[in-house]
Assembly symmetry: C2
Homo-oligomer: 200 residues x 2
DNA sequence: GTATCATGCAAGCGCTTGCTTGCGCGTGAC
DNA sequence: GTCACGCGCAAGCAAGCGCTTGCATGATAC
C-alpha cells in the first residue's frame, strides 16, 4: 500500500492512544509519521477522518489476532483450554492498554468511533460467555456457578490486569502476569464441580 | 466558606471528570459555576491550581466516606461483613466512575495529581487486603485461596462494575448491582473453607 | 458617609489548533 | 523530453486557549 498513508495511520493511532482525541494534534501526528502536516491533509479530509481510519485499522487487526486464538466450541477441559486463551487475550489487552484507557475516558465524546473502540473487548466477552455456557451444559462447571457471572469475573480480571499495572505497579509484585494467573486459579478452583458430582 | 470558591471547585471537578484536563477550559468551568472567568483567576493563580484544589477536595471527601464504611479488623463472618462494605464501595465507585475513567486516561500526563487521583482506590485495596489476610489467618478462607488474589479479584469486580456499565449496558442485564452481587457470590463461594476443614 | 471588598464586563495579548494556499522540487511513465 | 504526481516548505487564517488589564457596580464594615 501507500507507505505514507500507512505511516500516518500508525502514527495517528499511537498519538491518539497516548494523548486522546484533543491531544492528538495534526502537527504531532505528522511529526511522528515523519511527514509534513500538509501531506496529512492531502490524504485525509480532516483529523476526524484520519483518526477514524486509524482506529478502524487497529480494530481490524485486533479482531483478526483474537479470532485466531484457540477456544473450542465444545469444551472438554477448562484448565487446558481457557488458560492459554486468557493468557493471549491478556497480552493483547495489556499491549492495547494505553488506548483502552483513552477509549474509556473519551467514550461519551466519540460516539462515531464506538464500534472500533470497544469492539474487540465485546468480542472476547461474547466468546467467553458462549464457551462457559457450553461448559456448564457439559457439566464442567459446578451447578451453582452462573456462567454469566464467571464471564464477568474473567473479564474483570483481564480488565484490571490489563489496565492497572502501569498505575499501581506496587500492587502487582511478581508482575501482572503472575497475579493474573493466581486470579484465574482462584476462579477455576471456585467453579470446579465437586468430585461426587462429576461421577453422577 | 466562600460560596464562589465552593462553586468553582465543584464546577472544576465536574468539568474535569467529563472532559479531562485539556477539555476543562477555564471558560467552561466559570460558566458552570455561574461566575465570570475573571473571577476564577482572582481566586486561583492558574488552571492547574484550581483543578488541583478541586481534586484534593474530591479526594478528601471520598476518603472520609470510605473510611466511615464498616469493615472490622477482626473478621468473623465474611458474608455478613464483606457484602455491605463492597456494596457501599461499588456505589461510591460508580458515582465517581466518570472521573476515574478520566484519571486512568490522563495518568501519565498529570503526575502532579497522582496522590489525589487514585488514592481512594488504593485505600480500598489495602483495606480489603488486610481484612482478607486476617480472615485467612482466622480460618475463614479455604487454605488454597491466596488472600492477595482474592483481593485482586474483588477489586477487579468493583472496577469493572463501576466503570463498564455506561459503555456496555447490554452486558449488565438486571443492572450492574445485581451482576456485581452474582460475582461476589461466586468469589465468596469459591474461597469458603470445606465443611470438614472448618471443624478441624 | 466613606472606605473596602468581591464581582461583572469589555477588551485584548500571545499562543496553539485545524485547515488552506501557493509554489517549487524530484521521480517515474510514456 | 515532458508531464503528471506526490511531497516539502513558507505563510497564513479564524477560532479557541490561558491569562491580564482597566473600569464600573453593588454590598458590607466602621
Amino acid at each position: 500500500m501507500d507507505a505514507t498513508v500507512e505511516r500516518l495511520l500508525t502514527a495517528a493511532r499511537e498519538v491518539f492512544d497516548e494523548e486522546g482525541f484533543r491531544g492528538a494534534t495534526t502537527r504531532k501526528i505528522a511529526a511522528r509519521a515523519g511527514v509534513n502536516e500538509v501531506t496529512l491533509f492531502r490524504h485525509f479530509a480532516s483529523k476526524e477522518e484520519l483518526i477514524g481510519a486509524a482506529l478502524a485499522r487497529g480494530h481490524a487487526e485486533a479482531v483478526a489476532r483474537l479470532s485466531a486464538a484457540p477456544l473450542p466450541e465444545e469444551p472438554a477441559d477448562l484448565d487446558a483450554e481457557l488458560r492459554p486463551y486468557l493468557r493471549m487475550v491478556l497480552q493483547a489487552f495489556a499491549g492495547a492498554g494505553r488506548g483502552v484507557r483513552t477509549a474509556l475516558a473519551e467514550w461519551e465524546h466519540l460516539p462515531a468511533y464506538h464500534a472500533w473502540l470497544l469492539g474487540p473487548s465485546e468480542a472476547v466477552m461474547e466468546r467467553l460467555r458462549i464457551y462457559l455456557c457450553a461448559a456448564a451444559r457439559a457439566g464442567l462447571v459446578r451447578p451453582g456457578a452462573d456462567p454469566d457471572a464467571v464471564t464477568h469475573l474473567l473479564v474483570a480480571a483481564l480488565f484490571s490486569h490489563g489496565l492497572l499495572p502501569p498505575m499501581m505497579p506496587g500492587r502487582f509484585p511478581g508482575g501482572p502476569a503472575a497475579s493474573f494467573e493466581r486470579c484465574v486459579d482462584l476462579i477455576l478452583d471456585g467453579i470446579r464441580p465437586e468430585p461426587e458430582e462429576v461421577s453422577r
